[in-house]
Amino acid sequence: MAEDAAPASAAPLLELDGVGITFGGLRALTDLNLTVGEKEIVSIIGPNGAGKTTVFNAITGVYTPDEGDIRLAGQSIAGRPPHKITDAGIARTFQSLRLFLNMTVRENVMAATYGSTKATPVESMLQLPRARREAREVKALTEEVLSFFGQRLAGYRWDQPAYSLSYANRRRLEIARALATRPKLLLLDEPAAGMNPNETHEVSEVIGRLRDELSLAILVIEHDMHVVEGISDRVVALDHGVKVTEGTFEHVANHPAVVEAYLGRDPEALAEA
């Protein structure tokens, strides 16, 4: 997939323009510029503490940028509350899984349709036409989204509580839940973390299918370099909240600053210095 890199269209879907975030005296992100085009898969890499998840939190409205602007299809979304940003078309998964554990698999997905439905509590209680129509639509959407994972998240599991799922299935359910918000852009925070090689390979396939079948743009944080190499149209390397470099996987992986960030400086060079 990396080979047939899609050219970024004129107006990028997501655009971070000089974004800076400060916690107290700590600069978590500094002057970050980042774009994701339609149907593009962009990976963010970087050592622990580089600010990768902070980028996600800034995009999804958990943090408000102190500097710069974030635009979705040309419209500024910086400062909007998280649920409005998701409504606008950006959905995410979490690095440390955050499912609604005591709800069923089906309910987890259905909960994410809150923003796209309108029925008031009174309409729901009285089963008025709009509530019933929406309930039918939500049911259909839920089944469609869960079916994306085929046998892996098969029908009989749909009515079981989310806590009964295996680790890999929880990660799949998080993606399914995010899909139920009907996003244009999907943010995946370490989708392959804690998976075995087989499952990791599957994750790469799933990300490809998300783009090809559902026409999603995807921004992904990942540590597994095989996954990054396999899926990325473009790779962005972060360190200490600053963009080190950006480009194809080969370019980024061989960039001296990236190598340094991951492996430290050449000890001989250090000795000479």
């Binding site: 649920h83 998701t86 979490f94 955050r98 499912l99 609604f100 309930a135 139920a180």
Partner: protein, 464 residues
């Protein structure tokens, strides 16, 4: 699902949940019968219950049960579904009752057809304001802030407006629930009214639970940040939960005030709050059926323990029930019971032979229980100190039963049961008001240990 794939695995959870025996029957019923026939059955049972020739005492307990069931349903919205520890809930109950009282007495005397909707919506608004104020805090801090709301309500009715709200003397001479010239005048009428309100509420709340709003509440309870990221406006959803709960609590308040025909500040103390929480927790937070069952069990239980005779039935009955449920196999159970009975009679005979005054007292239980145990338990003439010592011994013995090795348990159980009976007959039953609280506490501890999720609740997994 392709042939042969995972069929067994697919049904595993069902098989495990189903269990065997009567549990399987209940489970199958639950799986086969949808919610509204079940609700209808409960409603019909409620109607049939009223056809029995009940004395006014039982009628009052029945009405109170329904009122507490409604209260528990309302509390369940904020606490069970949205996971907001709302300790100001009793203020909403009070607002409903006082709202009804003010509008149905003095110079106003509105019809209930106007009063109840006004009070209902007014308290919903009050709840929304409280929700708005407490948005900034969560968890334990929310509990503290809302607890203050409950206390503030008491202060207001006691002090701020004694002219209109009656102060410590309360308000009395309220109109019964009336509309278009007809009014509810008998306790039985209020029973039916409360029953209909309860049934309708259960149906509506069930539909709400399965709607987008109900899912949003539970999502906020499970993980607020994830809920936000999944398009749920958590602030609005939380305010809605407290507001809806407040409105339901107010509804219970109007029925309470109308049926009592008076309201006093003492009807809405923290004790009542604890009782409502006991209903919800005992029944199972998050479950509608559980909230209602909890309301009934706690009200009936509270009534039973305040009458010595009924408390005796409850005491011996629950011990027998616990033994039957927990002691296996049957042979051991039989041996324990036989040993306790025979050993007690023998001990009584020996002590009586040595010192007649040591068995000179008569058991506290009246009626057939007292008769039955009179040659079994040892009650000295002056039993107070003896009873106090036994009470401490009982606590030690119960602790020993819980901690001791499985194989030794039956042997420890025999003296424990005997000490319990002696203590009950010589001391506990003599002070019914204090014993009532000990008994309720013991029952709650027992039930919550056996079923932490409550009678009808589902066990929640916190961290995996």
């Amino acid at each position: 699902m392709p042939i042969g794939v995972d069929e067994w695995v697919a049904q595993h959870t069902d098989r495990r949940d189903a269990g065997t025996g009567w549990r399987r029957v209940m489970y199958t019923l639950e799986a086969r019968v949808s919610w509204w026939p079940r609700l209808l059955i409960v409603f019909v049972v409620g109607l049939l219950f009223a056809q029995l020739n009940l004395n006014s005492n039982i009628e009052q307990v029945a009405i109170n049960s329904l009122i507490y069931a409604i209260l528990a349903l309302g509390l369940n919205i904020a606490v069970g579904w949205a996971g907001l520890l709302d300790l100001g809930y009793v203020a909403f109950f009070g607002t409903g009752a006082y709202g009804y009282a003010v509008l149905s007495s003095g110079n106003i005397h509105w019809s209930a057809i106007a009063t109840i909707p006004v009070v209902f919506l007014g308290t919903a608004l009050f709840g929304a304001v409280i929700g708005l104020v407490s948005l900034r805090v969560s968890g334990d801090y929310l509990a503290i802030v809302t607890l203050f709301v409950g206390q503030a309500f008491m202060e207001v009715v006691n002090n701020v407006a004694p002219g209109t709200l009656g102060g410590v003397n309360g308000l009395f001479g309220l109109d019964p629930i009336n509309a278009f010239g007809a009014s509810i005048s008998t306790p039985k009428g209020y029973y039916y009214f409360a029953l209909i309100v309860l049934a309708v509420l259960m149906g509506l709340l069930h539909l709400l639970d399965e709607s987008r709003t109900g899912r949003a509440w539970r999502a906020v309870r499970e993980d607020e940040l994830a809920a936000k990221a999944m398009t749920i406006p958590t602030s609005a959803v939380k305010i809605m939960a407290i507001s809806f709960g407040a409105a339901v609590g107010a509804l219970a308040g109007t029925i309470f005030a109308a049926q009592q025909s008076n309201v006093f500040p003492t009807n809405f103390t923290a004790n009542i709050l604890i009782l409502i929480y006991a209903c919800l927790v005992l029944g199972g937070a998050g479950s509608l059926g559980g909230a209602v069952l909890g309301g009934i069990v706690v009200t009936v239980g509270e009534q039973m323990v305040s009458s010595p005779t009924d408390a005796g039935y409850l005491f011996y009955g629950l011990i027998l029930l616990a033994l039957v449920a927990k002691v296996r196999p049957w042979k051991v159970l039989g041996a324990v019971l036989a040993a306790t009975a025979v050993g007690g009679v023998a001990l009584h005979a020996i002590v009586h032979a040595i010192s007649p005054s040591a068995t000179g007292g008569s058991p506290g239980s009246a009626g057939w229980i007292g008769h039955l145990v009179s040659h079994w338990v040892i009650v000295p003439t002056n039993a107070t100190t003896y009873g106090n010592i036994l009470y401490i011994a009982l606590i030690v013995a119960v602790f020993a039963v819980v901690r001791v090795r499985e194989s030794l348990r039956p042997f420890v159980l025999v003296p424990t049961l005997y000490i319990a009976a002696c203590c009950w007959e010589s001391r506990l039953i003599v002070n019914p008001s204090i014993t009532a609280q000990i008994l309720i506490g013991a029952i709650l501890i027992g039930v919550m240990t056996a079923r932490p999720q409550g009678l009808l609740g589902t066990l929640r997994v916190e961290v995996v």
